[in-house]
Symmetry: D3
Subunit: 309 residues, 6 copies
Amino acid sequence: MQLTTLGGAALRLAPRGTERLETADALSVDVEGAECNAAVAASRLGADAAWLSRLPDDPLGRRVAGELRGHEVEVLAPFGGGRQGLTFFERGATPREDGRVDDRAGAAVEGLDFDSLPTERVEVADVAYVAAGTPTTSTGLAEATAKFLKTARDGGATTALGLLDAAAVADDSDTDTLEGLLPAVDVLVATAPAVEAAFGRSGEPTRVTHALASNRGFETVALLRDGDAAAWHDSTVHEFALPAVETVDVTGAVDAFAGAFLVGLVDGEVKTALRGAVAADALVKTTPGALPVFTRSELEAVGETVERP
Amino acid sequence: MQLTTLGGAALRLAPRGTERLETADALSVDVEGAECNAAVAASRLGADAAWLSRLPDDPLGRRVAGELRGHEVEVLAPFGGGRQGLTFFERGATPREDGRVDDRAGAAVEGLDFDSLPTERVEVADVAYVAAGTPTTSTGLAEATAKFLKTARDGGATTALGLLDAAAVADDSDTDTLEGLLPAVDVLVATAPAVEAAFGRSGEPTRVTHALASNRGFETVALLRDGDAAAWHDSTVHEFALPAVETVDVTGAVDAFAGAFLVGLVDGEVKTALRGAVAADALVKTTPGALPVFTRSELEAVGETVERP
Amino acid sequence: MQLTTLGGAALRLAPRGTERLETADALSVDVEGAECNAAVAASRLGADAAWLSRLPDDPLGRRVAGELRGHEVEVLAPFGGGRQGLTFFERGATPREDGRVDDRAGAAVEGLDFDSLPTERVEVADVAYVAAGTPTTSTGLAEATAKFLKTARDGGATTALGLLDAAAVADDSDTDTLEGLLPAVDVLVATAPAVEAAFGRSGEPTRVTHALASNRGFETVALLRDGDAAAWHDSTVHEFALPAVETVDVTGAVDAFAGAFLVGLVDGEVKTALRGAVAADALVKTTPGALPVFTRSELEAVGETVERP
Amino acid sequence: MQLTTLGGAALRLAPRGTERLETADALSVDVEGAECNAAVAASRLGADAAWLSRLPDDPLGRRVAGELRGHEVEVLAPFGGGRQGLTFFERGATPREDGRVDDRAGAAVEGLDFDSLPTERVEVADVAYVAAGTPTTSTGLAEATAKFLKTARDGGATTALGLLDAAAVADDSDTDTLEGLLPAVDVLVATAPAVEAAFGRSGEPTRVTHALASNRGFETVALLRDGDAAAWHDSTVHEFALPAVETVDVTGAVDAFAGAFLVGLVDGEVKTALRGAVAADALVKTTPGALPVFTRSELEAVGETVERP
Amino acid sequence: MQLTTLGGAALRLAPRGTERLETADALSVDVEGAECNAAVAASRLGADAAWLSRLPDDPLGRRVAGELRGHEVEVLAPFGGGRQGLTFFERGATPREDGRVDDRAGAAVEGLDFDSLPTERVEVADVAYVAAGTPTTSTGLAEATAKFLKTARDGGATTALGLLDAAAVADDSDTDTLEGLLPAVDVLVATAPAVEAAFGRSGEPTRVTHALASNRGFETVALLRDGDAAAWHDSTVHEFALPAVETVDVTGAVDAFAGAFLVGLVDGEVKTALRGAVAADALVKTTPGALPVFTRSELEAVGETVERP
Amino acid sequence: MQLTTLGGAALRLAPRGTERLETADALSVDVEGAECNAAVAASRLGADAAWLSRLPDDPLGRRVAGELRGHEVEVLAPFGGGRQGLTFFERGATPREDGRVDDRAGAAVEGLDFDSLPTERVEVADVAYVAAGTPTTSTGLAEATAKFLKTARDGGATTALGLLDAAAVADDSDTDTLEGLLPAVDVLVATAPAVEAAFGRSGEPTRVTHALASNRGFETVALLRDGDAAAWHDSTVHEFALPAVETVDVTGAVDAFAGAFLVGLVDGEVKTALRGAVAADALVKTTPGALPVFTRSELEAVGETVERP
């Protein structure tokens, strides 16, 4: 199964444990990005995954590329101008929330020109995936996303959109950008807060997935909520409760949900895909950092414990 | 709002996570002290905070001074003889309790001579604060505390005593020392175990605060218990339940309660002060180390979730 | 009280916190081994503990010896051929399980020749202890174990077997090896999963201990389950519930249960021994690493909170 | 002695030892900035030092402020828009050079408006100091620098310029900016490479200092070269060889040279000032990070070993 | 330029700085292997590099694969039986030598079956490279090496042998194995100690390279000594002195010498190849760990400083 | 060979690398003490070494005992009152010197009562060793030292004094204490600065050793200087130059010199003893911390490189 994705990535700098950014003396370095997180999850489940992007030609950009290649994702990202996007992150502890300083303005990915990228991997893809935060970053990235989806569909790929981060659709222009892309999307993978932010719709996941599919003409819709997840496909809805999780770091979990769902969707049936997606989400929460480090057998072991709500 | 405090500080040396002092290969270094913890909390809420003390003229003493200045507390501590007080601390995990080796005998603060300190900051203070552990350390510090409270009151300040650590009033002579100071105290900020140790009194916080205020003539009494907190002032009692907390390190939390309460008391009404104090206590528990690292907006966000028991 | 043990030890290499072996950049180094864990627990409770083994003549073998000596266990392990056994360990977080890569094949202990060891400590022992994993490692170690138990019993010692790890009795030949040794065993200290793996027996601990004692002729049987523990001795059964534990690392806890039980058994009555064993199990779970780092007074403090189920 | 400075500061993120940015798993966090480095050096020698700047209102900006306050520098930096400037730094080892990724575009300091700053500290300053990199950053900062120097001189201060980093005068417009400011400068503290970059002048330090003073009308000129340093003042030149140094990290050393020289200049005679400056440069090289952590007595001890070339 | 290599890799576990294996509390984790080190060096210089091997199907084997992929080397290593080879390493300090515990017996690579590997990358290679330590490990690996060299040569590749580690040719059977392979080798890259161990030959590098080429019929011979390096090709010898190096860790440096030399050889002329090889050797010594982390421009900058002895 | 020593030990807390105590965020924990350092060195060379002392009954005291036992030194130190002595240490870098804050006042060892110690190990010792810093600490320790030396000599032991730290004989009363003990001393192991401080004598080591032996009646005198070492015994003087050393941490090196010398003296001839002592001194300097971690074969390998000046 070939999964091709397009998007940016940030270096994430975070203190140990529950220390605070304001006073921590050392920061660990990780890579995160909605689409590359998903690509890594897919690769770990056996997919042939690729990531199109643009990176700065400096040690930080090379680090991002190296980290993703180490997780067996093909990196198709010309080194060019701009800086490496950063996220400073600190883990909260109840009642203190996770904190973050997003420092991505001027990132190299903003200068991404789709036409200059090698598009072979898009043309042969089984699934082409992008998350909502990519087109809403800039007009240039919105155009690149549109071309990406079109090229993929023309090549016979299933196109998929991740609507996972409510902050990515924070205002009307974001929503407008998104609306323009939706006709080119076959599969929507979403979280409840992002669906509410984008479409003002909330409620039981079985209903919401059905409504989204009907109204928007998606082939498949997967939805993740706080305690459960549902997937609508071919007039059938499947639903699972999320397993109990000892959470270490939630970053990247929803993206792994998307990656695992798309692999499962192409490989087999929707129910199994959703089960795997729920397990991927759980596993990513148990490790620090955003990039998934699970094996297929670990995912299946957790998947077996997942039950209907 | 000007808060001036007097007391000692220890360097706290602690292993990572739940490792034990007996076998840990590295110790992190923090600063802690009942009054300086409170001063930092106050400073973070916008107060102009100062700390009177005495420090050894060596890298450890300079470290204490630097750490507190970094949290925007004015340090008025002549460098002199004596050693830097230390606390070796290890975090427990149920059923193992937190462990500590107190190694403060001979600390420079024991040689503190109030008359040789610059007292301008005491004279202009809105609130002058000291915790019970300071006067009960030595006769010299008991005298210094008495002068501190008198100078402050003469200057028009509200005087406040922290009765937060039961170990500070472990025997009769401690209690005697304390009794001698009480007439000079306007506000008592206390924990239930310390009140029981000092005055043999326990029970519902609303009752205890009222009783203390009546019998001892305090203007204001704030009391922190395991699950709730109360404050008596001007014949009215306010009460809040403590929020759920994922505790990382309790050190300093009660002192932040005191610091936040005193800032709130001067800034506005008692109810808001208590709400902030409860939030400060919760936030300090979520980070390693004793010195508070919260912002006013974080405190207010937590404060909003605090409700009556 | 003199406790003499025989077995192997591994260096345990583990990432910090919940990081994964596949991606962690640093590993902490610990020592673990069923019998040496028990010996350390016993030593910490005042026993004169010894450990017979065989170690490679390299920095890793010396490290194992040094670590155990540091916990006041006498190490009687000639340095010889073979390599140092290793265990790569990663801590899980629900729903991800603890992971381990056992890398002990070819370990120096496999070449252990009982006749070449100094046996004075076996002859004067009050208790001689070995865990099931030692004789089931190889024919050579099965023979050494038989000689060890015989020498001990001849010298007047109580002989004890730890049946704590179900993986140590994974197949029929393991069980056969074990059966051959049982007649030489006075005391069995076991966990419920290992009893089920070895003898196919499960159920209420009071019943299981009684049945094992009757059928196999043990003088004493102690059994640890998920939530409780029981001990049968002299026609009487004692039972305690396990205390609530904030678990950091379970490694070595069952071995400390064994070590503490055997010390208690020789020192006094079975009920006290079981109480101490349950407390030892709880305390070891609260620290990283396998080797116990508690004091007798800490153990007694926890023991006092242990109650009947 | 009152030293007031104006400039920006970066958080410096650096791997341990000689690890590389591309692959390091953790980065230590420090603060650096030409003027604040100098201010810290001055403060450590007893000066009353202040730093005017502008910082982002986030944990990173607060960190910069806290770090400098911890070194007893008064921070007069309104929290405003923009981001925290960063420098990624890796220490080289011969023949590999130190590496850095400068990531300061869009830093909050670029929005600094001199008129909105509290200028009392400028008006009462004995010395007002700025480094060439500050006015050459942007037109806004060039204007702020001009106002800063004028305000200081009007208040009776000696004005000083640091021409220490050749990269700060990389092109003609930088030189033009600098030329515009020179008439307002009394003291020039410079390095040989930066003098060559700015004025195309090189050679023996005694000659260069004299030439600069004559041609440009400076009252005092101090110059630091690879192996020696010289200072011209009142028609006299002093010269010292640099002591042998086991270099750990050169960052900030030239700024400490400047800070120590200015303190010495106000406190006493030029020769002593230069001796202290050379010692400060040496001491900063012996510790990781840019901010000086020496005491006056350490500086004097090194200063005593400094001799004429 | 396509470089294909065959060999094993070890996880290297090493204490920080100059700590000792016997007492260090934490070990850093790296990957090292004669051929994969060379492949990484080649990849960093723009080559399309591949590594054929066999790895255990566990987190340690996956880690090796991930690390190499992260350095953009294609890993063609089926996951199979056996364990992950390990090297425990400690850095010495004069007069204490580097220490190592090699723990590679039973490594998965010993079960490598060349016929089961995908050989496309061998057939299209420009250069096929193996180091002497691979065939001398076992008869199976000697056979695999022979097939590898034959397949490569049949496909038109230049074949190259690394004779870099004297320990790899420690006894006569090692030398015999090597002799059997030499006829299939076009290029020899060697160190002086290994040449002496294998062929009993030492002396001036220009002579030794010439003698080896004449007697053994190599097309090209490169030789690295303590202070210089030489390369013989087409009846011409080039020679360079090694640059001064502040050595952090020598591991992998000779392998980078080989990798860089082979890239240079295919890309252009021998003199440039040797210059780059000498620079690669120097750069790898400046960073901890075996895998090269330099860029082509860094290599060229160092190369420019390399001169004839 | 049995070596019995008497003295105190400190926990040494030190920042990483060349960080400073004033600002380091973490401190590593080591054990150091003139006599226990020597005992560990002796134990590593095969001696049966013991250490008499007194320790506080807390995790810090237990840590000291455990660390020394881990190096196979028998610890005969009753747990009693007092605190654990500490040393805060920071490594310098030229021209910055090593720094230390000695914090040993009130240490448990000050309460040592020789009569309450088990003296069997003193009576059977081949050599009894104490360093000058122990008797000069307090009158009580001076008395204990006198009893220790007398008991040892009565038992037939050679008595040895270490005069290694000039600070231990800082004033006249120290010298008086020392003079009182000298008649009971057979072997003096000294450094040049300490000899000058105690006896006002300096010069060529061969002369100084001879003069000390003649005037004071020592059987044997070993002397360590900056670049060489000498030993006088039985009218013969041996002399060696110190080998080149890449120094990491000098702490404990002179004590290892003493320990190795005494082992060599009993085991064989003085020349070999001095050679080993010089090698031990060199090896300890190559690792962080005070306790030696070398093997006999490492020591011999270095010893072979040691030559006459």
